[in-house]
């Protein structure tokens, strides 16, 4: 059952990225371009997401278990360390360079855009390097 849930959640998430236009790098770069011509739209994507996810998390986190799994797995790492900051700096640089982050990049494979396929392959190389380096 939780594989079906994964598939459906992936589809809903992917459609959300399409409707919000977060899948379009031009839109993302417009959002990050606050010093020139700023497109604030993507702030509303975050607001929309948080309006639902904040209450859901706090309502359910103390429940015994999720419906289709034996326990909740919630990240426990609280450390503000160099890895967190350096990683976020690298991510921000790559995001600002192309306008793609992991979700929209993978979703955009559906459009058979050669550039996004190259980006995704490179991203997986980056995952691999980081997993070996840490």
């Amino acid at each position: 059952m939780n594989k079906i849930v994964s598939l459906i959640c992936g589809i809903v998430f992917g459609i959300g990225l399409v409707i919000s236009e977060m899948i379009n790098p031009e839109k993302v770069l417009g959002f990050l371009n606050i010093f020139r011509e700023w497109d604030p739209s993507l702030a509303f994507v975050m607001i929309g997401g948080l309006i639902i996810s904040i209450p859901t998390f706090h309502l359910f986190k103390n429940k015994n278990k999720p419906l289709f799994s034996s326990n909740f797995s919630i990240p426990t790492n609280k450390e503000i360390d160099k890895k967190l900051i350096v990683g976020s700096v690298f991510f921000g640089a790559g995001w600002g360079l192309i306008g793609l982050c992991p979700g929209p990049a993978i979703t955009s494979i559906a459009l058979l855009n050669m550039s996004s396929v190259i980006f995704v392959i490179s991203m997986f190389v980056g995952f691999y390097i980081a997993s070996k380096a840490t």
Binding site: I47, A110, N113, M123
Partner: protein
Amino acid sequence: MNIVNFTPVSALTGGLLIGLSVALFFILNGRMIGISGIASNFLVSKNNRIENLFFLVGLILGPLIYNIISNKEINISISNSLILLIAGGVLVGFGTRLSSGCTSGHGISGISRFSLRSIIATITFMIVGILTVFITGML
């Protein structure tokens, strides 16, 4: 600064769907969505590998299903050179794995938990993203 291309309604609608996906995944499967985590764990970890694969397949089906339902074409444009695409992809992959999260994992799931780690990560990648766009815009 000028405000351009502002589309708050579609952005909010898409955001609500993303929030719905995060909420369902948590209530039903017990996990907080972070796409970089799902994708990189699919690559390097045996834990939940099939579940992670199904999520990634779902992501890719999203635009196709949207296209069938709405009959609207989805257009994106990426005009970067090959070298920049590779550099950007590696930076995003390496960085999100190192910091354990991306726009979804830190920006939505982490902030939902009021995690200080995620709030700091989100502020950091936003500022660096803004600076990167500012600098590349001058070149």
